[in-house]
Every structure is written in C-alpha cells, then in structure tokens.
C-alpha cells in the first residue's frame, strides 16, 4: 500500500478545502512545500507535519501525510516526541511568529538546542493573523494594532538571531512567493540532520499587508547568502557585505571597496559568530536583508543519540528481562 515512489505534488494535496484569505502568502508556501516533498524521496506515510495554532498552523490539513494540528505554541514539543521516538520518520513543524516565538518561544529554542530531527518552518507575518491582528514579537517597534492602539513599545525579536543564540545547527530565511528559493531552503532544511529552522517572510494581506514588500518585491534588497560565495546584492550585484577590522559588517558598493574585500559566506563555520553578525545586517525587512542559509553545522542528533543509548544498553545487558527486573536483587521467600 505504500504510495509508489517517485511521488508528485498531487500526492500531497488533501481533499480539504484550503481556508486562508484570498491572497494570503500561506498559499504560496503550501504549494512550494507540496512541490518539494516528492523530491525528498520519502514515502508519504513516513512524513509527519505538526503545527500549533494560527492561520499558518492550518497547514497540516492540506498536506496528505500524517498530521497533527495541536495547540498554541506546543508544536515543537509534540513533534519532539514524534521524532525522538521514531527516528524513521521525517517530522516537520509549521508555526507562526506568535505560535513559535511568543507562546511557543521556549519550546522552539529548546528544540533547536536539543538538535532533534525536526524541520521547523516559521511563517513570519509579523502579526497575529488568526486572532485578527494583534502585534507579535516580530512586529516592528511602534506598531499600531488592535492591542497597541498607541503603538507597540517593545523591541522585536530577530528570529534568526534568536535561533543562533539558541545553538541552532541550521538556520535559513526565505520568502513566501519566491518559489525557487523557498523550495531550495525547504529541501536543504529537510535534509539536514538535526533541527532546522526556516524563517519565511509571509505576507498577511489582511492584517499586515506589505510588511515585507521592501524585500519581497525588491530583489535588490535581497542579500542572498550562498555558501562559499561572496555576499553581493543590489540590482546587479553592485553592493557587497564587507567586514571592518573590528568585526562589524557593513554594506558597501563593491566598486568602492574592491571585490576582494567582499565577505565570502561560510555557512558551515563551526562558530556561529559570522552567522549571527549577518543576522544583524538588517533589523527588519525594510531594507537590504539577508536570505538563504545562515548556518549549517553538524552536531549529535537527539533522537539518534537516544536510540544509540538504547542500543548500547541492550547490547551490553541484553534485551530487558521483566522477571529479573521485578525480582531485583534482594528477595526472600515466604513458604
């Protein structure tokens, strides 16, 4: 009964009506993910999507794999149980900026630190969509929303910085409607051994329309990070990222600073310092902003290590013997 491989995008479409607002960026992400899944070469029954609550978290209903639409913020925890107990499955987490960074922030950072096999797609629309438009931890300072009619007064998170501060081994950023780039990121993330996070800039055309236009619509503002490549951007790559002697990064015209000074991206560097510095290049998607893989390194994977300890113990002691366990070492007989 296993669906014959290779699969096609259609194999991943359920019969459920998709219930997002017309024009929502979520549609594009869904289509891209459905399009990439066949490329993973994993049977449908071995894929699991776990989500929290939010517009984006409706995602699993629309993907024809195993799915769990859980409760607000808890998807990384629930998915951890799935992935840690079944290393044979490929587990995705779908979450929002509220779901993943507000109520679910702790589970997210611990999931990253723990480096369990999870691919976390964070739909960042800088707003609470499902509850009709309150500010989120990624909304820009001064944001006027229903819950902040006089403007928000707290600094937003930079999701990439948060992830890097939390020992994430794979961190990327992409854009809802950039099918090629997003697809590539999803595939790389899915193939990463350990926890991977992709921040997706997602337009909520109802409550926060245009939040990412500066980056989404202006390719010149997309600083594309490609491993081993000089970090250039602009209309024609005329701009580059350079490092000052004191370690700060700066954007400058390549013509001015010279090609050789342009920083070459190294996603695999063990030390997350560079990735972190790159994450600080932009403090919001309003100007030139890096997209792509910030960091990808290899670390022990939680679920696999758990399995290894079980295998080791079993190899050393033999498969558990219940009678022996129950009796223990100190027994006496009553005749």
């Amino acid at each position: 009964m296993t669906t014959a491989l290779p699969l096609t995008k259609k194999d991943f479409v359920t019969d459920q009506e998709v219930r997002w607002c017309p024009g929502c960026g979520d549609y594009a992400v869904l289509a891209t993910v459905q399009g990439v899944l066949p490329e993973l070469g994993i049977a449908r029954e071995n894929l699991v999507f776990v989500s929290g609550i939010g517009c984006s978290s409706r995602f699993p209903y629309y993907v024809d794999t195993y799915g769990f639409h859980s409760i607000h913020g808890r998807a990384p925890a629930i998915a951890t149980g799935v992935a840690a107990s079944r290393p044979d499955l490929k587990v995705f987490v779908v979450t929002g900026d509220g779901d993943g960074l507000s109520i679910g922030g702790n589970h997210l950072i611990h999931a990253l630190r723990r480096n369990n096999n999870l691919t976390i797609i964070l739909f960042n629309n800088q707003i609470y969509g499902l509850t009709k438009g309150q500010y989120s931890p990624t909304s820009e300072l001064g944001k006027v929303t229903k819950s902040t009619p006089f403007g928000s007064v707290d600094q937003p998170f930079n999701p990439v910085s948060v992830a890097l501060g939390a020992e994430a081994t794979f961190v990327a950023r992409s854009i809802d409607n950039d099918r090629e780039h997003l697809g590539r990121m999803v595939k790389l993330a899915a193939q990463h051994k350990g926890a991977s996070l992709i921040e997706v800039y997602q337009n909520c055309n109802i409550f926060n329309d245009g939040a990412f236009d500066a980056v989404r619509d202006h390719k010149a503002n997309q600083i594309r990070l490609e491993d081993g490549q000089p970090i250039r951007f602009g209309q024609d790559g005329e701009m580059g990222v350079v490092m000052e002697h004191d370690g700060t990064l700066r954007m400058a015209p390549v013509a001015e600073v010279g090609e050789e000074r342009v920083l070459v991206h190294d996603a695999h560097r063990d030390d997350p310092g560079l990735a972190f510095a790159l994450s600080r290049l932009s403090s919001g998607p309003t100007g030139p902003t890096p997209i792509g893989v910030f960091r990808q390194v290899s670390r022990p994977v939680y679920g696999l290590e758990m399995q290894r300890q079980i295998d080791d113990a079993t190899a050393r002691r033999g498969r558990g013997d219940l009678a022996a366990l129950l009796a223990g070492t100190d027994t006496w007989d009553v005749p």
């Binding site: 009964m1 296993t2 669906t3 359920t14 459920q16 049977a43 449908r44 029954e45 071995n46 894929l47 699991v48 776990v50 609550i53 699993p60 209903y61 794999t65 195993y66 799915g67 769990f68 639409h69 859980s70 409760i71 808890r74 925890a77 629930i78 951890t80 149980g81 799935v82 992935a83 840690a84 107990s85 079944r86 044979d88 499955l89 702790n106 589970h107 611990h110 758990m306 300890q309 079980i310 080791d312 113990a313 079993t314 050393r316 002691r317 033999g318 498969r319 558990g320 219940l322 009678a323 366990l325 129950l326 009796a327 223990g328 100190d330 027994t331 006496w332 007989d333 009553v334 005749p335």
Partner: protein, 620 residues
C-alpha cells in the same frame, strides 16, 4: 546472639530522626531492607524537609524515617513510634510529641551541646530538666563511641563523625535482633571505590551492636517473628519504584516502548530516574524543558505509536491541563502520573496530600472527561500503573494515575509477580492497518463496543490522516463547526469514559460482621490507615464496613448500590472532601468526611475514633 534475654513482641514502630546531614533516610532504608528479608510485614514513612540541607542542627533541618514492622500483616507505618532515635536536640524537639507514653527514647547525648540546644530553641536541656520523665530514656554518646571505634582509621574527622548513623543502626539492630551481614555487604558495594569508608562504617555498625550487647544500660533485646504472608517470593518496594516497574510491565505486555516526557518535581522525580535506567527495555526518557513540553512530547510519542507517559506532581498537572484537553480531544492513549503533594501552589513539596482529585477530574476547559485510577499501597502502584495503561490503550484516552508522596516514598514487602500472569495488553493496542471506510481512513470511526477510535500510526501506508484540537466530525474526523455534531461528540466522549465502568471490577465491601450500619469509603493511600482503623473499631465491638475505590472515574458500576446499603457513609480524605463531593453529587448520599490536611498520612487511631463516633451517632 548475645547473652542477654530476648523478648518476643508482635509489632514495633521505630522512628529515626536527625539532621538532614545525619543520614537518617539511609539508616531507615537499611533497617527496612533487613527487616523485610526477615519476613516481617512492614510499612515505612520517610519524612524529610523541603530544603536540600537546612542549616545543621536547625528545626527545619530535621529528617525522619518511621518504620512499622510486625509478625502479622500490617497496614500503616504506625501511629506513634514505640522507639524514637533522636540524633540531636532539634530531632528530639520535633518528634518527641509523637512517641508513645512510656516509649523508648534513644538520644545521641553528644549532640546536646549548648549550641544545638539553642538552634532547637530549647531554653533548658531536656535531658536534664525532667521533661522526658514519661519515657524510657537512653543517653548514648554516639559521636564519642563512633570516634572511638575509628580511632585508628585513616580517615578525616568529618568522615569519621558521619558514620555515627551506623552506630545507631547497629544498636537498634541489636535491640531488634536484626543481622548485620546484608548491611555490611551493602556498605562494601556502595563504597566500593572508597573501601576505607566502607570498613569504617562496618566497624561502627558493629560497635553499635556491641554497645547494646555489652553495656548494662540495655537489659534485653526483642525479637519479631516473620509474618504469615501469602506464599511467594518477596522483595521490598517503594511506590515510585513499583509504579515505574508497572509502566515497564505495561510496555512489555503491550509491545509498545515507553516514551516518558517529564520534568523533575518532588515527589515524582524518582520515577523519571528509575525509568531512565532501564534502556534495555527500549524505554525512552526525555527530561523536557518544562511540564508542558513533557506531556507534549509524550502525546507526540503516543501519536507515533509509543506508550506515552508523563510524570509529575500537582503544580505540574496544572501546567499540563491544556495539553490534557488536547489529548482528550484527539483521543490518544496517555498515562498521566500525578504524585500528589501538599498544596495549594508550591505548598509542602515533600509532604503527602490527596487534594488533586478534583483537578484531575475537572482541571481543563470544556467537557473533557479523563479516567482516574488510584493505587492504595506502595506495591499496588505496580498494578495500578498497568491498569492505567490498559485503560489508556484500550479506550484511546489520557488516564490519570493518582499516587501521592506517602505511597511514593513509603516501602512495603511486595510479592514479586510472575510476568506471564500480568494482563496481556497486546490485543487492546490493535493498530489500524487498513482503511475503515469507503473514503479511506476515518480516524473517528469508533468501535461500537468501547467507543474507542482507531489508532493508525505514522509509517502505516494508506492511513495518512490529520488530527487536531478543533471539533471533529463524528466519523470522518474532519473539522466540523456543526452544532449538533458538537453536542454528539461531547456526549460520545463522555459516554466512552462512562462506559469503562463495564470494564472494571465492582466495588468490594469488607464487612466481616455483615450488619454494619456505617460504611467507610476511601481512595488512594488512605487504604492502610482506614483498614487498620476498621480492624481496631471492630475489635472494640463496633461493626463497620469498608470499601476502597481504585477507579475514581468512572466509579464501579455498583458503587451507588453499595453506598445506598448503609445508614452512614464516612469518607476520610487528606483534603477537604473531594471524593465526598463526587459521591454526594452522583449518588445523593449524605456522606460525611473526615478531613485532615496535615501533609501526613492518617493515624489509624484518629480514624478509629471517627468511625466509632459516627456509629454511635447512629442510624438514619
């Protein structure tokens, strides 16, 4: 054995009390272990402070261990000790009030310094001011004797002094004719890497014994014959260990590996510790970032086809409430273990209480019924864990297993069960493997008998499906906002849990006289004291019937009928009347409570008084 006379006694209660640093728990454990091996029946009550180590010699720093053992079956750790060993003034002060009038008091006289007396808030030395006249007091300079025994040992002064608990153990072992060999072995194993410490402890242990045997102070020793327990192989076990073993047994008998998602909390942490040691049974334990992640991971693991378990205490249950509601909604098996402790809030973390029953029943938004099972004794934690797992697996539902601090840490002799005699849970697991509907797989197409839904685990081709916390259409499981469907689903979930009543044993009543007018009904760890109290009441000529609820939700099918048979119903609980409330509501019986919330198990004598009092109040 020595030359002094040996007097046979039927039952003894001893309490060791000292500073947290004095090793009283260890002393008690060792004494218990040897006593168990001698074939006595026994029950224990460890009692320690919430601090790791409060300041030495202070009142909050006192740690105690009480042991009741006998030549017949017993039910409680004893109301009032016959013997109190007090290692310092603070221990004396906080414990002397419990000692039987005329009881035996053994003190480490070396510890009665001015400084320690002051820390214990004694104005005058109680050993000197006549306040202990009602007891048989033995002043033993244990520290001095210990140091003496180790005079030539190559050890630091602190290490030497620390061995004084072994002196106490040796002395009391002599008093009650307990052999020393197994403790010697144990010491040598424990300090295998530091043999000099092992030998020092052994030497002091013997010194304590010798002190009893040789000095004039003690005129005779005692002997307690083995109890006539049912035939079998026995071991000693605490509630938390039994519970962990019960989970492993359920895993073995169901063929599902355990996934424990847990966050440490007193008095539940030991289950996490125990389970994490048994990886050769395929047990996966995850110390999660918090209680919510713990239960979330366990639920995720259940979704993935494991035996999902989460362990905690009351504050942790509060945090897990929302996820428990999700488990109810998605109808997945999950065992939720609550080792109750003193509340509300942080409360009294190391003390026992039964005040989470209503939280377990109702602590979630919406109509979210959850079955509840409660063990009665430490050993019963084993069977109760299997029963909880059975219900969870068979009915695809979260189940509460309500133990408490007293059961968790209390020990008793336990007849080692034959694994093959344990319930076979393989058949109730019954994973779905093929579509159950023309449309493919319908995850909420219920079994008409149990109302359980099918459980299809990831990796099963063709059964891909989605579940979630929104209301689902009966059958297909698709999201549904239909009003009538919602009502139907609310009722179906309730009916599924209520239907478990058909699948559990009826409530049994113990009424040897057959004409009792008063029924005492309890649940959980009050079993021992209640049963003991009933025996006492009966032996005083008061007929009384006794019943104990192992299933709190649903109640056994005959519960209402049982209650209706008696003129008066007494519900002793270590809370303000939680079971009583449920019984009154469901059966409209005018049950009365005996409620004390002191962080300690009931004594059988207080319950005896309550029973006799109610019987004398008379019939309706």
């Amino acid at each position: 054995m020595g030359t002094k006379t040996v007097q046979r006694v039927a039952t003894v209660t001893i309490r060791f009390a000292g500073d947290s640093g004095d090793g009283m728990q260890l002393t008690g454990d060792r004494f218990t272990s040897v006593t168990a091996q001698l074939g006595n029946d026994l029950a224990t009550l460890p009692d320690f402070p919430a601090e790791i180590r409060a300041p030495a010699g202070s009142l909050p720093g006192v740690s105690g261990f009480q042991l009741h053992f006998a030549d017949h079956d017993i039910l409680t750790p004893g109301d009032q000790p016959d013997v109190l060993v007090a290692m310092n003034p603070a221990a004396l002060r906080t414990n002397i009030g419990d000692l039987q009038p005329g009881g035996t008091l053994i003190v480490n006289s070396d510890a009665f310094t001015a400084g320690n007396l002051k820390k214990a808030k004694y104005a005058a030395d109680p050993l000197r001011d006549g306040s202990l006249e009602g007891y048989q007091v033995f002043e033993v300079p244990m520290t001095t004797m210990t140091m003496g025994a180790l005079e030539s040992a190559e050890l630091g002064k602190k290490d030497k002094e620390r061995a004084k608990n072994m002196f106490a153990l040796g002395l009391v072992s002599w008093m009650y004719s307990r052999p020393l060999e197994s403790t010697e072995q144990w010491l040598r194993q424990k300090f295998a890497k530091r043999p000099e410490i092992a030998e020092a402890n052994v030497a002091v242990l013997h010194a304590g014994w010798a002190f009893g045997e040789t000095t004039e102070i003690f005129s005779h020793s005692y002997e307690v014959q083995p109890a006539a327990l049912p035939t079998g192989r026995y071991r000693q076990i605490t509630g938390n260990t039994a519970l962990a073993y019960g989970l492993i047994a359920a895993s073995e008998r169901s063929g599902l590996p355990i996934f424990l998602g847990s966050y440490p909390i007193t008095p539940a942490s030991d289950i996490l510790h125990e389970l994490s040691r048994h990886k050769e049974f395929g047990v996966r334990t995850m110390q999660a970032e918090d209680e919510i992640a713990g239960i979330g991971a366990a639920l995720g693991a259940s979704f993935a086809g494991m035996l999902g378990v989460t362990t905690t205490s009351g504050p942790g249950v509060a945090l897990k409430s929302e996820t428990i509601g999700l488990a109810v909604s998605v109808e997945l098996p999950l065992v939720i273990v609550d080792i109750q402790r003193g509340g509300p809030s942080t409360g009294l973390p190391t003390k026992t209480e039964q005040a989470d029953l209503l939280q377990a029943m109702y602590g979630r938004n919406g109509e979210a019924p959850v079955p509840i099972v409660a063990p009665a004794t430490p050993g019963d934690c084993f069977d109760a864990a299997i029963e909880a797992a059975r219900i969870a697996l068979k009915y695809r539902t979260p189940v509460f297993l309500l133990s408490d601090g007293y059961l968790a840490n209390g020990a008793e002799p336990w007849r080692v069960p034959d694994p093959d005699g344990l319930p076979d849970l393989r058949e109730v697991v019954n994973f779905a493997t093929v579509p159950n509907h023309d449309d493919g797989f319908w995850p909420f197409q219920r079994d008409p008998e149990t109302l359980a839904r099918p459980w299809a685990v990831p990796g099963t081709p063709g059964l891909e499906h989605r579940i979630g916390g929104l209301e689902k259409a009966d059958g297909s499981g698709n999201i549904s906002y239909d009003p009538d469907n919602h009502h139907r689903m609310v009722e179906l979930r309730a009916a599924k849990v209520a239907g478990i009543a058909k699948d559990i044993p009826p409530l049994e009543v113990d009424d040897p006289d057959g004409h009792a007018r008063v029924l005492v009904i309890g649940w959980g760890s009050t079993y021992g004291p209640i049963k003991a109290a009933c025996r006492r009441a009966r032996s005083r000529g008061t007929p009384v019937a006794q019943a104990h609820l192992r299933h709190l939700n649903p109640f056994p099918a005959n519960a209402g009928e049982v209650l209706a048979r008696y003129d008066r119903v007494l519900v002793p609980e270590m809370n303000l009347g939680q079971l009583r409330m449920l019984l009154r509501a469901q059966f409209l019986v005018d049950a009365v409570g005996y409620n004390r919330v002191r962080g300690l198990p009931f004594t059988s004598s207080e319950l005896e008084e309550a029973i006799v009092g109610l019987e004398q109040e008379g019939a309706r």
